[in-house]
């Protein structure tokens, strides 16, 4: 099947108007030697057939609809109110493009402006952009801003080893063509060790909040140290945790980035997600990506428009700081609708449920023989457990019982062999948690 509406008669009329006999005549500019190659694709399928095929592929996956999920490590299974999807399926939103023509894009523009406002208040900053691809690329873009703030003279970036390892990989991918040096993350450096690395070559220092291990580090005084060295402080935050804990802005961050997926975006095997990027106003002209601002139309009526456009690639070309053009518009809408529905009280309630359930699970697991929960720092909805066996072996047994166990930290951190990172959210009820605890006990005995 296809979505091409032309009838034979219409096709003939159109070809005649163009002055050719067949559609193939329109391709004479293509070198004859390479024109009309064979396409080895299957025969067309009907809607019913493709749906059946994809249903069977989808059901071959071990997903949160069928399993009790205790895995996070950068992507979290949270409740999404039904209304979010209903708004996302408004095709006036999802079949529109970037709001280049503001007169007929006020819906998208106002929603992004509201999203920016919510993200700025959530992170305690005074501006946000319309988003980046994901948390990792937001961090990579923060490095570019830091280089600009350091006027290209400061080349060093200090990364905490407790930032998501994939984010640290992405940052290096992005900056492999530059002379930026990344330090700090190849061992077990704590916040104080990172501070000791500050010098007059340092452009930025980045930490995660909560960190990759779910812990809330004590960041008091960090901003003063970073600023007195002439660098900027970037905090990689989990937005769900920010409903409870002090905002990165209050802690003195210059830029706050992170993964917006917890805000109403499904797991979807890792994408599309939402990279949020918030900043203090003084850096806003240096940041990449779309930004929506308020203005008025000719009649003085309030309206919204993409602003500070001369920073962007389509105008600045090779002098632009980033090549980004589209963002994650629909995902920003998702977060905006989610935050509206949950609201001030709902988001705090969700975060509180995460906290209590994770701590209940941690307490129960800590009491089991052979398992030790790391309690060295406060944590939010994720915690580390030292296990009596390799994590992969435990997970193989858990999956038989309908449970997707925690993440194997030994893959990324050699000193954390047999250490499982367990995430518990508001979607895990007590029965699921108790069954995880019972199975872990059974496995260790």
């Amino acid at each position: 099947m296809s979505y091409i509406p032309h009838t034979d008669a219409e096709r003939q009329q159109m070809l005649a108007a163009v002055g050719v006999t067949t559609i193939e005549d329109l391709f004479e500019a293509v070198p004859a030697s390479h024109r009309f190659p064979k396409l080895d694709l299957p025969a067309p399928m009907s809607e019913m057939e493709i749906m059946a095929e994809l249903q069977s592929m989808a059901e071959a996956n071990e997903h949160a609809g069928d399993f009790a999920l205790f895995r996070g490590a950068g992507a979290y299974h949270h409740f999404i109110p039904a209304a979010v999807n209903h708004i996302l399926l408004r095709s006036e939103f999802y079949t529109a493009y970037t709001p280049y023509q503001p007169e007929v894009s006020q819906g998208t523009l106002q929603a992004i402006f509201e999203y920016q406002s919510m993200m700025a208040t959530l992170t305690g900053m005074d501006a946000a952009n319309a988003s980046h691809y994901d948390g990792a690329t937001s961090l990579a873009e923060a490095v570019t801003v830091a280089m600009d703030v350091g006027r290209g003279k400061r080349r060093k970036v200090i990364l905490s080893p407790a930032i998501n390892p994939q984010y640290r990989e992405v940052v290096r991918t992005y900056h492999q063509g530059t002379s930026t040096k990344f330090v700090g993350d190849n061992g077990q450096a704590g916040i104080n060790d990172l501070v000791d690395m500050l010098d007059d070559d340092t452009a930025m220092l980045a930490v995660a909040y909560p960190n990759f291990f779910g812990q809330i580090d004590d960041l008091k005084g960090l901003a003063e140290e970073v600023h007195s060295a002439g660098a900027i402080l970037v905090i990689v935050a989990n937005p769900m945790a920010l409903a409870l804990f002090k905002s990165p802005g209050e802690l003195g961050a210059d830029i706050v980035v992170g993964e917006g997926q917890p805000l109403g975006i499904p797991l979807s095997y890792g994408g599309p997600y939402l990279g949020f990027f918030c900043t203090k106003m003084k850096h806003v002209r240096r940041i990449a990506g779309r930004i929506v601002g308020e203005t008025v139309d000719e009649d003085g009526k309030r309206a919204f428009v993409m602003t500070l456009r001369p920073r962007e690639q389509d105008i600045r070309r090779e002098k632009a700081s980033s090549n980004i053009c589209t963002n994650q518009g629909l995902m920003a809408l998702s977060a905006c609708v989610y935050l509206s529905l949950m609201g001030k009280n709902g988001l705090k309630q969700a975060a509180t449920l995460n906290y209590h359930k994770a701590h209940y699970a941690a307490d129960q697991i800590d009491m089991l023989d052979g398992y030790t929960v790391d309690r060295s720092k406060p944590f939010f909805n994720e915690f580390q457990v030292k296990c009596p066996q390799p994590v992969t072996e435990i997970n193989e047994q858990l999956i038989q019982k309908g449970i997707i166990g925690g993440y194997d930290l030994g893959q990324d951190y050699p000193h954390l062999q047999n250490t499982m990172l367990i995430a518990v959210t508001e979607t895990n009820n007590r029965e699921e948690i108790d069954s995880l605890v019972a199975e872990l006990k059974e496995i260790a005995s």
Binding site: V30, L39, P42, Q110, Y133, N164, G177, N327, E426
Partner: protein, 491 residues
């Protein structure tokens, strides 16, 4: 009347009852780490629904009207795509699931990699890039690493024609190269003499859009590729215009070393009001080891009884990860659905009808508007949005007037090499009646420009708002509707 901001509807104390009660004992919260206030709206679900539905009415979209936005391929987004991407086995699949538990997703990605490679004649595909711009970035980083791997470090420049998308030169700079702009000749093709003069052992490669942003198939594309290869450079094809090529020519067979696909253009995944996109990259054997990862490979071929086992692998000399996890998987599901539905014959038909629609509009408008490169075009073409003898009527005015007729403006002022450019791309999914109506409206606007030019200059008249004060937006810089927090004030 303005739609109020969601914050303006907020009433203190209004709560929603979306979440279940706490079913475990409480743990004391660490008081000195907690925040004092959370400034989010307090509104009901009905208020939220009405607000966003009303906002949606303020948008022009493909599902509400014709959207001939050149180079963006605003084709119909089939609804089945939305349903397949939301199947629980995909939407609720955690990205850290062990490969054994994600075989359905991996099989889908592997098949999509194979189909995309087949459609454009490449040996391997990575689905990792999150958008076209990221695909471009990946492509140029691969070229960089390829030369480095061979110990060839003096190649510091990438050639870019002056008709290129802005992302091309921006990508070149981002990857640490210098962009060298090439002029176009009188036919709108790359100036071959200038190209040959620029080719030497400092050239790492060239980025070129095929067909070009003028909507023209490069007349001597094989000569261009040959010249760059002869000096040791690699060829990057910007695949933004792939909708003009499927079943007509395979870029890999022409000699391109690498290209990116825009799943949100060619393969109908929705544009989403500005993303998410998806920008896979295809490469030949030369660049395969450098692909961004991870990519999906067959780990065990399986047998008649057992399906193959798929796994995620980082290519041997990969440029690295471009984002967390594996690209925009939800877009991969939609593109798979689209290719599966069309199959071999349908995919070819897409391109043929996209090209037919564009040429039909071109010949119907060529007597009314100046078409600067007036020859058989690909899936889009560029005309000049101004009229002899009419002062101060610009492409922008024509664009705004189109809104009054319920049509989204074409891309305007791009490519930069055409004055007052209007770039028109109808796509294959528009029927003849819609296209004829567009042609009539464009002619009518041309008449209005003569008889009542102010009608154009003051347009739009029927859109939700009139023209905006963009200077004020940039000057006053109101980016957030909430009060600035005390710790941020004064900076």
């Amino acid at each position: 009347m303005n739609e109020p901001l969601i914050y303006d509807m907020s009433v203190a104390g209004r709560t929603s009852a979306l979440l279940p009660a706490l079913d475990v004992p409480e743990t004391p919260l660490p008081k000195d780490l907690l925040r004092d206030t959370l400034d989010l709206p307090e509104v009901s679900e009905l208020q939220v629904m009405r607000h966003f539905v009303r906002l949606s009415h303020l948008n022009h979209s493909i599902d509400t009207g014709f959207y001939p936005l050149g180079s963006c391929t605003m084709k119909y987004n089939p609804k089945i795509n939305e349903d397949t991407a939301r199947l629980p086995g995909f939407a609720q699949l955690h990205p850290r699931t062990d490969d054994e538990g994600a075989q359905g997703a991996l099989a889908l990605m592997h098949q999509l990699q194979t189909w995309l490679a087949e459609i454009s004649g490449f040996q391997a595909v990575s689905l990792a890039p999150a958008a076209g711009a990221q695909g471009e970035f990946a492509g140029i980083l691969m070229i960089r690493k390829y030369h480095q791997d061979r110990g060839d470090t003096k190649r510091t420049k990438i050639l870019v024609p002056n008709s290129a998308h802005g992302t091309n030169p921006a990508t070149v700079s981002m990857a640490g190269f210098e962009a060298v702009e090439l002029p176009s000749d009188n036919n709108g093709d790359v100036d071959l003499a200038a190209l040959r003069a620029a080719c030497d052992d400092t050239i790492a490669g060239m980025m070129i859009t095929v067909p070009s942003t003028l909507g023209l198939f490069e007349g001597h594309i094989l000569d261009v590729i040959k010249a760059v290869h002869a000096c040791g450079g690699l060829m990057y094809m910007d695949g933004a215009n792939m909708n003009a090529l499927m079943g007509a020519v395979k870029p890999g067979e022409l000699g391109f070393d690498v290209m990116h696909y825009n799943l949100h253009k060619t393969f109908s995944t929705p544009h989403g009001g500005g993303g998410p996109g998806s920008g896979p990259v295809g490469v030949n054997d030369k660049l395969k080891p450098f692909l961004p990862g991870p990519v999906v490979e067959i780990v065990d071929e399986g047998s008649d009884e057992e399906p193959p086992l798929y796994g995620m692998k980082m290519p041997e000399k990969s440029i690295g990860r471009l984002k967390a996890f594996y690209g925009n998987f939800g877009m991969h599901v939609r593109a798979y659905t689209y290719i599966g539905i069309h199959g071999d014959s349908g995919i070819k038909d897409i391109t043929r009808h996209a090209v037919l629609n564009a040429n039909y509009i071109r010949v119907k408008l060529r007597d009314t508007y100046k078409v600067p490169y007036d020859r058989i075009c690909a899936h889009e073409f560029v005309l000049e949005g101004h009229f002899e003898g009419v002062e101060n009527v610009h492409a922008l005015d024509i664009s705004k007037r189109l809104m009054d007729y319920g049509i989204h403006p074409p891309t305007n002022y791009f490519p930069l090499i055409v004055p007052e450019a209007l770039m028109i791309e109808p796509t294959e999914t528009e029927d003849k009646a819609t296209i004829d109506e567009f042609i009539d409206v464009m002619k009518k606007i041309a008449t209005e420009a003569q008889t009542d030019p102010d009608l154009l200059r003051t347009a739009p008249h029927t859109a939700p708002v009139k023209r905006l004060d963009e200077v004020r937006a940039a000057k006053q810089l109101v980016l957030c509707c909430r009060p600035v927090p005390e710790w941020a004030a004064g900076d």
